[in-house]
Structures are given as structure tokens and as C-alpha cells.
């Protein structure tokens, strides 16, 4: 398999390219805030989805385990952050302590889910993970009694923003005359986290573990015969995927300042699956593309569909939200039918999906 970033080939050109992309990404919020700070917020949510999709990609794309309850780990991360940094329990720990805790707790949940279920066949595993995701949500929604832990459906409000010393990421600052709004600061933080996560993913894919995942995905029996501890390797995938979800969840809680169980419903899990599938399971860049595409689609629809229908029929016939869901559904079906490896297929995955499979 070819490494995704071949630095040895043409170093100069590559570095210029990377630098250009980096500058563009760093400058993006300035451009966006010219249109409106809203768009910076939308970009932030898109980056959060990229993080989620990359985390899920480890489980689905690398290790080939379909997880339909991935949002549970996001929820765990978000609630860990909210409980440790909000007036609910009166705790206000700094984020650099909570985020690792959130990641660890999410990873623990990943292992808890994975340990008993990993011997299941792929489709059974998918259904069990779906059940797991629902169970986590139902618990979050009901743990307001008999002792109020999660505040149940009321959700947790006034969650602390990230603070680094005197720097508060949620407020608007003025640096050398340039106005830096809260969402912009979060954007850069998210961008940094995303770069780290991408690097980890790239390194993982080409590592010993990455190859072990690939082996397990291609043929578990053969992998075991080659001396791979398949259970350990699969558990590791679950734990790592979950911990990325946990980190994303913590950041979501702090950006929103308010979380409630309704943000972690089944549809969200399926949306992240759709991002991974659409972009190309196993291909980091494909997954990023899928996440960005699908998280901007609702916004684009919102700005185009409604005015278009109003102009055409004088009223709104089909809501953008419904079109969005129909598009998600269609994306899942059409991609599977016509481009099973996704928009940007990973080379291995493509070979695998093209081949015939015997039952």
C-alpha cells in the first residue's frame, strides 16, 4: 500500500501545497466572518463532524466494524465535560484536564461495548452498537432520578468555555485592531485538534496496528492464523475511535454551552456513518470530504431551497430539513449501489469491495 503522504517524492512542491492549504484554512474564519460570524459557527460544527467521522473511520474504515451507535461516545465526552465544568455540580475544572478524562471515559465505554460483542458477525455487531447507542441516550435522559446526575431532558446549561490563562475562547477580543470573535478562536483550536487527529490517523494507518486492522477487516480467520490477536486489535479500534468521539464531544459541549440528550439521537449516528460511507471508508481524505460535504449541505439547502420554492410556488412545499434527510438516505443507497468505495476510495477498500464475496 502506498503511503498517503509521500514526502520523499517531491518535498518542495508538497510542502508548498501544504503551506498554502494551511494558510487558507487559518485565514478562513476572517473570510467567513465577513459574511457573518454564523458561518464561522457552521464551520466549527463541520470540523466537529470531521473529528467524529475520523474517529468512526478507525472503527468502520480501518477495522471494518460497522458502529451504528457511535454518537454515544460523543455524548459521553460531552457529558463528562459538562458535569465537570458547569454550575450543575459546581465543578469548574480546566479543559486540559477534562478533555483527556472525557477521552478516557469514552474509550472505557468503547471497551465496555466492544469486549462482549466483538466476536459477533458484522451485521449483528451493527445492531448491537445501535442498541448500545440508544441505551446510553436513554440513560442520559433518565438519570435525573432518583439522584440528579445528568439533569435528564432538561440538559446542562452554562457549561464553561475553554480558558487558557486569561484567554477565554468564548469572548470577543481585539488583537492589534483586528476583531477576533469567540467562534473564530474555537475554530483555530478545532483546526489544531483536527490536524493532530489527522496526523494520528495517517500514522496509525501505516503502522503495525493499522496493518493488523486491515488484516482483520479483510479476513479475520487468516489474520488470526498469522498471529494477530484479533480481539485485542478490534478492541483497540473501538477504544481509539471512541476516544476521538469523546474529545469531539467535550469540545461540542464547551462551544454550545448547553447540552441535552436530544443532541445525541440515532439520526446523528447514522449521519456520521453516512459521512464515512459517502467519502470513502478507510480513506482519511475521503472521510474528511464526506464530513465537510454533508455538514454544509443543510446550510446550503437552507439558503437555497426555501427562497427557490418561495419564488417558484409562492410557498414552501418541501422543508430543507426533509430534503436533507432524503439526500442522506439517497447518498447511502446510491453510494452503495454505484460507488461502494465512496467518493474518494481507499485503494485497498476498493479492491476488496470490487471482489466477489462468498458467504
Amino acid at each position: 500500500m502506498k503511503p498517503l503522504i509521500d514526502v520523499r517524492g517531491r518535498p518542495l512542491l508538497l510542502w508548498i501545497g501544504i503551506a498554502a492549504i494551511a494558510v487558507a484554512l487559518i485565514a478562513l474564519p476572517f473570510v467567513l466572518s465577513m459574511v457573518g460570524t454564523t458561518w464561522v459557527r457552521i464551520a466549527n460544527l463541520a470540523v466537529l463532524y470531521v473529528l467524529l467521522a475520523l474517529g468512526l473511520n478507525i472503527v468502520v474504515g480501518f477495522a471494518g466494524l460497522l458502529d451504528l451507535g457511535y454518537i454515544a461516545f460523543y455524548a459521553v465526552g460531552a457529558y463528562v465535560y459538562a458535569l465537570l465544568a458547569s454550575p450543575h455540580f459546581g465543578l469548574h475544572l480546566p479543559f486540559w484536564i477534562i478533555l483527556p478524562i472525557g477521552a478516557a471515559v469514552a474509550a472505557l465505554f468503547g471497551v465496555l461495548l466492544g469486549a462482549p460483542t466483538l466476536k459477533l458477525r458484522g451485521d449483528y455487531l451493527a445492531i448491537v452498537t445501535l442498541g448500545f447507542g440508544e441505551i446510553v441516550r436513554i440513560f442520559l435522559n433518565n438519570l435525573s432520578q432518583p439522584v440528579n446526575i445528568t439533569r435528564g431532558p432538561q440538559g446542562i446549561a452554562q457549561i464553561d468555555p475553554f480558558r487558557i490563562g486569561p484567554l477565554d475562547l468564548s469572548t470577543t477580543d481585539r488583537v492589534l485592531g483586528v476583531v477576533i470573535s469567540g467562534p473564530m478562536k474555537y475554530y483555530w483550536l478545532l483546526l489544531a485538534v483536527m490536524v493532530v487527529v489527522i496526523l494520528i490517523n495517517v500514522r496509525l494507518q501505516n503502522s503495525r496496528i493499522g496493518r493488523a486492522w486491515e488484516a482483520v477487516r479483510e479476513d479475520e480467520t487468516a489474520a488470526r492464523a498469522m498471529g494477530i490477536d484479533t480481539t485485542a486489535v478490534k478492541l483497540l479500534a473501538f477504544a481509539m475511535g471512541a476516544s476521538f468521539g469523546g474529545i469531539a464531544g467535550g469540545m461540542f459541549a464547551s462551544i454550545q454551552g448547553f447540552i441535552s440528550p436530544e443532541s445525541f439521537v440515532l439520526v446523528e449516528s447514522i449521519m456520521v456513518v453516512a459521512m464515512v460511507v459517502l467519502g470513502g471508508m478507510g480513506n482519511i481524505w475521503g472521510v474528511i470530504l464526506g464530513a465537510v460535504l454533508l455538514s454544509f449541505v443543510p446550510e446550503i439547502l437552507r439558503w437555497t431551497v426555501a427562497p427557490f420554492q418561495n419564488a417558484l410556488f409562492g410557498k414552501q412545499l418541501v422543508e430543507p430539513e426533509v430534503i436533507r434527510m432524503l439526500l442522506f438516505g439517497l447518498a447511502l443507497v446510491l453510494v452503495m449501489l454505484f460507488r461502494p468505495a465512496g467518493l474518494l476510495p481507499s485503494s485497498v477498500r476498493q479492491r476488496e469491495l470490487a471482489g466477489e464475496e462468498a458467504r
Partner: protein, 420 residues
């Protein structure tokens, strides 16, 4: 100050990409005055946003709320109000939050970006609470006409107001009425595990316990539950005298029907989410005798002038909180007139101490931004129709006949609260 930007080394490079301007939520306040240089056109544009779900399951309620605000703004424009010596032109900025907290914050930011002078909304507590933080940071006054969760005004945000009764005003009202009308010794409380249903059920339970009435352990469904048989059968074994349900009509209807099928004899009492005419359709004859509450005054006692104007403008009757959003928009305009400015920083103090006679009755705010002395109406289902039986205000209950006979002031229709 923004113009200095080109001088700085750091910014110079960024400016090329277009970083420079529109620092969004910082200059929201000064905007109005700056954009209207005194001499040539002596007019001033004042944007007021309305935010509510215009798509999704409760879009019809969102539209109703928006209509209320729109009516107030149209009337203000027709009245040719002068602010700071200039002709004020009010513009409604309608936005859709899909009743989703995540979308709610995005839209709140959008409204702040649009530099509105004030906000009417949001419809749901679930979207209002996260959005309030954004309005607070931007210093823009926001009045909700329908978010009933106490938490909203408990966050200590100076810009947040509401003109509707809180859950902890409605809960005690319906609980006390239930206690005095049905004289139950044992009550079961059920909720649908949503922010609205649970919140209201908690308040009812608290009041019942305060009145020394025994309450069974809470039973719960979801906002999609149609099978209540297991829960009801269990309750049948406990034989409560009354059952309160905090939830919507879509789930409350089947519950009522199944309870009567199982032979549960208890008096049923619902909150405003299930206090709709739909109940008669969903539960049929089983709905008879149901007690339920709505925030505000019943349509029959409503402000004729508002009802007529609304009907004339939109060709439909207001379905629920429209009078409240109408009042909310009028309150913003009124405060701007008093302060003689559309600058939020200047008119906010006026808003906090305003006294206004609106479509939903007399309005004044307490120090938290909640409405003082909000009314709650108790209805009884008789022959498939909801009939007002009592009005509860400041903890005192007056029978409806007495209330109407006493020549009460104008008021408004109110109906179901949004789910979230």
C-alpha cells in the same frame, strides 16, 4: 478603530484574504445610529428578529408566533413612530431554529450578525437557553413569548425576558386546582421524559407534596409512546385518585383512552401541551372530564382588537402564543420609544422597568425578567369541547364565570407548549 488594521504587520497579510471587516457581534449596538447620519434622510431602520421553528413538527406554532410579532411591527410602522427625532422604520427579520438547540445557536449568531436591535423568541426552552448566552454576549434584549422553562431566566442574563408563565407558575396552578377540585389523597404523576413534560411534572409533584398529598413514584414514557398499558395497569393496582401527565396531546390522547379501557377511574389532569382540541379526537369519549391548564387567558376572554387585527392580517385565527409574541414585539418598540433610542444598551433599562397593557393583559417584569402575576387558565373537557373553568393568578383561583363577570381586561388564546 477598525481602519487601523492595515497598519499592523500581522493584519497586513491577512487583509489580502479579506480578513478585515465586519467584526460581527461587536458593533451591533452603535450600528443604528452610525448608519443614519442626521441631516439628509431623517429616518432610521430598526431591525427586530423573530426566531422560532418554521420547519419541523411544530412549524405551525412557530409561524403563529412570527405572525404575532409581524402584526406588532406592521402596526408600529403604520403609527409612524419617531425615535430620536427620526422616522422609525421597523423591519422584521424572521429566522428558523427548527426547534433544534444546535441550529438555535447558529441562528442566534446569524441574528446578531444582522445587527438587530431586539429579538422576539425563541419558541422552545431547549433552543432559548443555549441562544440566550449569545444574545447576552452581544447585549441584545430578547423576549420569549412561549419558553416556559424556569432555567431560562435563572441564568442571570440581563437581556433575557419572557411574557409567558413559567413552568413553576403553571405547575402549582394546575396542582392546586386539582387538589381543591378533585380532593385526591393519592396522585400519580407521569411525564414524557422531555424537557417540557418532565419540567412541568416536577413542579406539579412539588406542589402536590406541599399540599400534603401523597404522590406515587414517577412513571415515564417518551414523546413517541403510544403503549401506556403497562404503566396504567401498574397504576390501576395502586388506585390513585388523580393522575397528572406532563406531555403532548399525541401521547396524552392514547393514554387517556387506554386508561378508560382498563377501567382506571382516576381524574386525569394534563398540562398545556395536551390541553388542545385534538384530545377529543385522539381519546374520544374518554376525554370527557379531563382537567387541563393553559398559560395565559382563554381565547374567549381575549383582546377583541388583537384578534380582529390578526384575523384581518393573516386570514386565520391565532393558534397559540401569537398574543404573547405580539406583546413581546410591542414591548421592545415601547421601550425604544421611552428611551428615545434603538440602541440596546440605552433602551434595555427602560424595558426592565416597563409597564405595558398588551393583548395578553398587563405586563411588567420582575428582577429576573419574568412576567409579574402571569395568569393561568384551567379548562375542563365537556362533550368534546374544552371549556374554561377557572383563572389562576398569583396563586389565587377565580372561577371563570366570576372572572368574566368581573369585567376582566383583555387577554389571549394560549395553547400547547412546544415539545422541547
Amino acid at each position: 478603530m477598525k481602519l487601523k488594521l492595515g497598519l499592523t504587520v500581522l493584519a497586513a497579510s491577512l487583509a489580502v484574504i479579506g480578513c478585515g471587516d465586519k467584526p460581527a457581534d461587536t458593533k451591533k449596538t452603535a450600528e443604528v445610529k452610525k448608519d443614519a447620519p442626521p441631516p439628509p434622510p431623517p429616518s432610521i431602520e430598526i431591525k427586530i428578529a423573530h426566531v422560532g421553528p418554521l420547519t419541523g413538527g411544530i412549524a405551525h406554532l412557530g409561524k403563529d408566533n412570527e405572525n404575532g410579532a409581524r402584526l406588532a411591527i406592521d402596526e408600529a410602522n403604520a403609527a409612524k413612530i419617531k425615535i430620536d427625532g427620526k422616522d422609525a422604520k421597523f423591519i422584521l427579520v424572521p429566522e428558523d431554529d427548527q426547534a433544534d438547540p444546535k441550529v438555535g445557536t447558529t441562528v442566534a449568531q446569524k441574528v446578531v450578525d444582522a445587527k438587530v436591535a431586539g429579538v422576539v423568541g425563541h419558541l422552545n426552552s431547549g433552543t432559548s437557553i443555549p441562544a440566550s448566552d449569545i444574545y447576552n454576549k452581544a447585549g441584545i434584549p430578547v423576549i420569549s413569548g412561549s419558553a416556559t422553562n424556569p432555567k431560562l431566566t435563572e441564568q442571570g442574563f440581563k437581556v433575557q425576558f419572557r411574557v409567558v408563565a413559567r413552568d413553576d407558575q403553571q405547575g402549582p396552578a394546575v396542582a392546586n386546582y386539582l387538589a381543591s377540585a378533585a380532593k385526591p389523597k393519592l396522585v400519580a404523576v407521569i411525564d414524557d421524559a422531555t424537557a417540557y413534560g418532565e419540567g412541568l411534572a416536577n413542579e406539579v409533584e412539588k406542589s402536590l407534596k406541599g399540599a400534603n398529598i401523597k404522590v406515587l413514584p414517577r412513571e415515564k414514557g417518551t414523546d413517541k409512546t403510544t403503549d401506556w398499558k403497562a404503566v396504567l395497569t401498574k397504576l390501576k393496582g395502586r388506585n390513585p385518585d388523580a393522575i397528572f401527565y406532563g406531555g403532548m396531546d399525541a401521547t396524552g390522547g392514547p393514554m387517556l383512552k387506554q386508561a378508560r379501557e382498563l377501567g382506571v377511574k382516576a381524574v386525569f389532569s394534563f398540562g398545556d401541551g395536551a390541553c388542545t382540541d385534538e384530545m377529543a379526537k385522539l381519546a374520544g369519549a374518554a376525554a370527557d372530564g379531563l382537567l387541563c391548564s393553559q398559560a395565559g387567558l382563554p381565547p374567549q376572554a381575549a383582546d377583541k382588537k388583537f384578534l380582529e387585527a390578526y384575523k384581518k392580517a393573516f386570514n386565520v385565527d391565532p393558534i397559540l402564543y401569537a398574543p404573547f409574541t405580539y406583546d413581546a414585539a410591542n414591548l421592545l418598540i415601547e421601550a425604544m420609544k421611552k428611551a428615545n433610542s434603538a440602541d440596546p444598551a440605552k433602551y434595555l433599562p427602560e424595558l426592565a422597568k416597563i409597564e405595558h397593557s398588551g393583548a395578553s393583559g398587563k405586563i411588567a417584569f420582575d428582577e429576573k425578567g419574568d412576567r409579574k402575576g402571569a395568569e393561568i387558565t384551567i379548562f375542563t373537557m365537556k362533550g368534546g369541547k374544552l371549556e374554561p373553568t377557572a383563572i389562576v393568578k398569583d396563586g389565587k383561583s377565580v372561577s371563570y364565570a366570576e372572572f368574566v363577570g368581573g369585567g376582566a381586561p383583555a387577554a389571549a388564546p394560549a395553547k400547547d407548549e412546544a415539545k422541547k
